[in-house]
Amino acid sequence: MSSPAATPLDARSFDLVALGLAAVLALYLPQLPWWLSAALAPILALRWWRRRHRQARTPAWLKLPLLAALLLSIVSWYGNLFGQAPGAALAVGLLVLKLLETETVRDARVGMSFSCFALMAALLFDQSLTATAGVALGLLPPLAALRSLEPGRRPPSSLWRELPSGLGLLAAALPLALLGFLLLPRLNSPLWGAPNPGEQRSGLSDSMTPSGFTRLLVDDSPALRVGFDGPPPPPEQRYFRAYVMDRYDGSSWTYRDVANQSPVPVEAGQTVRYHISLEPTRQRVLPTLDVPLAAPPDASLRRDRVAMADKPVTALRDYSLESAVRYRLEPQLGPHRARWLQLPSGFNPRTLALGHAWRQRHGGDDAAIVQAALALFHDGGFRYTLAPAELGRDAMDDFLFDTHEGFCEHYSSAFTVLMRAAGIPARVVTGYQGGYWNALGRYLLVRNSDAHAWSEVWLAGRGWVRVDPTAAVRPQRISQGAAAAVPGQLPWYQSGWLQAVRNRWDIVNRWWNLSVNGFDALRQRGLLKPFGIRDTDASTLALLLAAGCVLCMAGGLAWVWRRREPEDAARAALRRLERKLARLGVARHAGEGPRDYLQRAAHALPAHHDRLIELMHHYLELRYAHPGPVTGPVRALQRAVRDFPVVRVVK
């Protein structure tokens, strides 16, 4: 068995291996630093050219320095070798260098196996539909390369004809693959590490600077899932509070965590009970729907009814809560009023002036000032965009009077500053808003991209009132979610018919995200709900998986074991004629020979008499007059049978 593995690669196999590695490199292009791609691509091309046209091997004195250079450059670029991005760079680099020493069948097998692994790992960076489709296509060269390693096959005439051969195998594998995908029990919590150890993918943070959210708003990973006792609240009430921020230093809002203060009183009107399943954030804050009445276990409520867990959330965390959605929060402000009016001195003079002006104009009517601010956002030419212009030192001045563009952070921040300038106690609240209501799983899926910032103002007699200035600018953000809010910045490909196409395509992406990427442990548990099984646990899934595998196996075996008898063409033609005659009312009796039968049919159908007699002679001659098989007359018989009319003769 060892000798076939050591046989040298032929040219076609080497081409396919090189193609497979080139595909891996191409799929990794967005993840690799440009210099690495720029170095690896020529190495790959040169190596291919040298082996194919010079039959040259790569000397060891070249391989070792290249390896060392790869390691050194990655370490110096990323700082270490571990983690997702440096790991990917290392893997792709090593794969390309593997081609330098790919001479035998075994080398090719190793290289192709690991390129399959690298292809899978590419999906850790981007699991969109297009990326997945690209990676699936990237599987074709490795599969074709593995085929080409088998000796004694008939190689197709060109390299490109090799590739589709893998499609058949993948198509045959599809049922089992889907079964495995649906039924493989998902892990509730990862076995190791977080997906992106280097990346701060922690959802919200306890401070907010304008533009700090942008990364978060494009992060499509789930943040929390919420199930409700009773109907879900309407979209415009789906505000999940995380941090209440009071301190503003001119550039950022921060949350101060003060323990051992009893939460402020709340007069609850309407309450909702719900269960949240929170993805790991490595922070302590637990988002809650509006104002929680009590803290969940192993957590406590801070002064402003912010729920804080005792330990950072490192694994999926489930908690149940009751919250007030109609309420009066902190009806009496008491001595803390100054805290909610704090503004840094020496910043944003024009904003402050505007606030003062409103106060002068509207006198003691706080609600009118709030309306004035919302009207400003609504009618002042403001745009909602995820890529706003840079702001200077007086950020709010720049935003309100200059750039007029931003997203929720800008609006809530500017609104709060305006309110404080006008003497209304105000604060910024961050959290999540919206989410996708999963009707099948009956839960609300809130993604990191649903992160949101809004304001609360304290109005006498009403307590803290939520005001969402973003809604004034872009109501879709609130009613339809984050994705609907940002067709703002329009590059060329976002306009006109192309945009329509992309919007349609986006449904596919959404479908992909929901059906494939969003198919998680929770939805898997609800998999059998249509069949009356409310909660599908892991053992049931395993049982189903085993049963499904057996079924697939049985199907495969049935396909493989069937034996098709090659039917005699002349007899097939006769059988077809029999069927036609049966429709005309002359069925063949059991034990009736073709000659007797056709003669009887000719008598019974005088309209076709001559034709049938001719067919009979033709068949008998074919059957008995030739010693070996003949093709030409058979064709003629088939044609004659095909042309035999079955229309009933109208008498």
Binding site: R109, S113, L124, T132, R154, L169, L170, L187, P190
Partner: protein, 315 residues
């Protein structure tokens, strides 16, 4: 490691003939069916399986459904590649085996005639240390060289037909044990005396006059004048000579088993084989007398083969 594995295989074959590859010899044609095709993962297949497992755990750990789908796809494709591997062998027929002739110690050429309805790719045949790979469309003839050691009927060894098509992950195989033997001719001795001819042999070989006229040919210097066909030459401008059907230029050999009483059995056979070879090479006519068989005078490859075969099957 390899030796231990081989010992284990031999043990298994001894103890579990039904489960392992031991098959009784069977008459041709042999058609491979599902009851006799076995399939196991190759070493590469096992390694690939481990890799798939790592991919699976990684995809599950990172809750990455796209990666999980890809892994499932690749895994199912790997599993599904068992089916083409099986189908490569299923329904393959060994229709016949033609054996050539060979002297003991020289390789004997076998022509195996395979047929299948579907085209097959990358079928491999192992036979007594020799390995072939072939593709098949309709029929295929494979030439194998079988090592021989001694004269006589030699049963064909077991043939292993196997395939790792399409991905090299699984290895399907089947053993064929055709109930057929090939005849190996005795090996001639390298040198020795020529056969002793009976005393009247030379006498019988003298050219005898009055033999039948065979043809006319042009005159060559040295032709006897009495052979010139004068009448015919008169109608030609060259002299024509009557060519008579002449007896063999060389005497024919009567090779007799009994004449070699002094030698022991195998040496006798080797000597007779050498004489047969020399006679055939020199274009002589020869006959062979064996203890219980007599082959009349003759010559040519068929005659030679008949004589050698008779020698080969001597007890």
């Amino acid at each position: 490691m390899r030796a231990a594995l081989r010992r284990l295989a031999q043990f298994a074959e001894r103890r579990l003939p039904a489960l392992t590859r031991l098959r009784r010899p069977e008459p041709l044609p042999i058609e491979l069916g599902r009851r006799r095709i076995y399939i196991v993962p190759t070493a590469f297949g096992l390694g690939f399986g481990v890799l798939l497992l790592v991919m699976l755990v990684g995809a599950l750990n990172y809750a990455n459904n796209a990666a999980l789908l890809l892994t499932c796809m690749l895994g199912s494709a790997a599993v599904a590649s068992m089916l083409p591997a099986f189908r490569t062998l299923d329904g393959l027929r060994l229709r016949g085996i033609r054996a050539g002739h060979a002297l003991a110690g020289e390789p004997l050429e076998l022509v195996l005639d395979f047929a299948a309805q579907r085209p097959r790719e990358s079928v491999r045949l192992d036979c007594a240390g020799e390995s072939l790979a072939f593709a098949l469309q309709g029929t295929a003839e494979l030439r194998l060289r079988l090592a021989t050691s001694r004269r006589g009927w030699q049963p064909l060894p077991r043939l292993k037909l196997w395939s790792t098509w399409p991905l090299g992950l699984f290895r399907a195989w089947s053993w064929l044990h055709p109930q057929q033997s090939v005849l190996v001719w005795p090996r001639p001795e390298t040198a020795g005396p020529p056969p002793v001819l009976p005393g009247d042999a030379r006498e019988r070989l003298r050219p005898q006059a009055g033999e039948e006229l065979a043809a006319l040919r042009d005159y060559r210097r040295g032709d006897a004048p009495r052979h010139i066909a004068w009448k015919a030459s008169a109608r030609h401008h060259d002299l024509l000579v009557k060519d008579f059907d002449r007896p063999e230029p060389r005497e024919s050999w009567r090779l007799d088993w009994q004449a070699l009483r002094a030698l022991e059995r195998e040496a006798r056979i080797a000597r007779l084989a050498r004489w047969l070879g020399e006679a055939e090479a020199q274009g002589r006519r020869y006959s062979l007398q064996l203890p219980d068989e007599r082959i009349d005078t003759g010559s040519g490859p068929a005659h030679y083969a008949r004589c050698m075969s008779a020698l080969a099957v001597l007890p």
